[in-house]
């Protein structure tokens, strides 16, 4: 069976995650072999997913961890003493 571009677009996320069955994967792979648009859409989506997963995209405020643990220390000391 030949699938069209819209059919491929509906499954891009699942395809990237390996969450499509073998038959659908094979159909998508066949389509990607001859469709440069879907191939570029797939590659660009995968690239975006890879990039956003990088910890550098969202930097935690400097000193966040230190301030958090100082606050926890105060709570632990207070509640440890009272408990």
């Amino acid at each position: 069976m030949n699938i069209d571009c819209k059919h491929v677009w509906r499954h891009i996320s699942a395809y990237i995650d390996g969450d499509v069955d073998a038959r659908l994967r094979a159909e998508i792979d066949r389509h990607l072999e001859h469709c440069e648009i879907c191939s570029a859409v797939m590659d660009s989506t995968r690239n975006v997913v890879v990039l956003i997963a990088d910890e550098r995209v969202f930097e935690i405020p400097a000193g966040y961890s230190e301030r958090l643990h100082r606050r926890l220390d105060a709570v632990l000391a207070e509640e440890g003493a009272s408990g």
Partner: protein, 244 residues
């Protein structure tokens, strides 16, 4: 490098192979089991009085907790304050943790409730309207989505992220997603949780997680691909109808 990204490299995610772990897996490996046992032992010791161990217990979740609150509140100061309150609540409620879920899943569920509480407080102040946090209508509607169309993609490697403008571009696109898409992107793609863990935290079905993630990723593709052109290492991409 994030765990998620490390997985991508290890699993060859830059090729045609699937990007992530099996989407329905529950991390049921021996290593995960031993990690869970170690966490359970640490919690037992904390509850027995070794409270200083709480610091180590929560280190792995510090970043996901902050990120979730930042995604909800979109303000760094509020997110940090809420993170402190959240983790104090986690300490005070540690005796309620039963180990049915992973510790991180339990903590992130508490985190989300705390964040939603902050949003409700904001909503009670008329000058700060509540953004539509939960909009089930976004789970409905047609499944078709037209991505940004192009005929060639020149991959942006991880090194591109040295550029602050690129990082800003990516983070802005995520933060500007509708909230129900934003949180699923955070849990699945940034925190690398599996579908079931994500569903448990958000209180939705695994199917809804997949639908939201698909729409979120396609929204990001559509939004980001035209902008990412400026960050291509060399040359120009050929856009649909504009061959180079």
């Amino acid at each position: 490098m994030s765990r998620a990204l490390a997985n991508l490299f290890r699993e060859g995610r830059f090729g045609s192979q699937p990007l992530t772990h099996a989407p329905n897996s529950t991390s049921g490996t021996g290593s995960a089991d031993s990690q869970r046992d170690a966490t359970a032992q640490t919690i037992a010791r904390i509850l027995a009085g070794e409270t200083h161990l709480f610091h180590e217990l929560i280190r792995p979740v510090e970043r996901p907790v902050f990120l979730m609150l930042y995604m909800l509140l979109r303000d760094e100061t509020d997110a940090e304050d809420a993170a402190q309150e959240t983790l104090i609540k986690v300490f005070r409620n540690l005796h309620h943790f039963r180990g049915d879920a992973k510790f991180s899943t339990w903590v992130l569920s508490i985190t989300r409730n705390e964040g939603l509480g902050w949003l409700r407080k904001r909503a009670s102040r008329p000058e700060e309207p509540l953004e539509p946090v939960l909009n089930p209508a976004l789970d409905e509607g047609g499944g078709d989505f037209t991505p940004a169309l192009l005929t060639d993609w020149r991959e942006l490697p991880s090194e591109s992220l040295e550029r602050q403008e690129l990082r800003a571009c990516l983070s802005r696109a995520i933060v500007n997603l509708p909230p129900i898409y934003r949180e699923v992107v955070q849990l699945r793609d940034l925190d690398d949780l599996d579908v079931q863990e994500t569903a448990d935290i958000l209180g939705i079905t695994p199917g809804s997680v997949k639908v939201r993630l698909h729409r979120a990723r396609m929204t990001l593709q559509k939004e980001l691909v035209p902008q990412l052109q400026a960050f291509a290492p060399t040359g120009k991409r050929s856009w649909f109808g504009r061959r180079v």
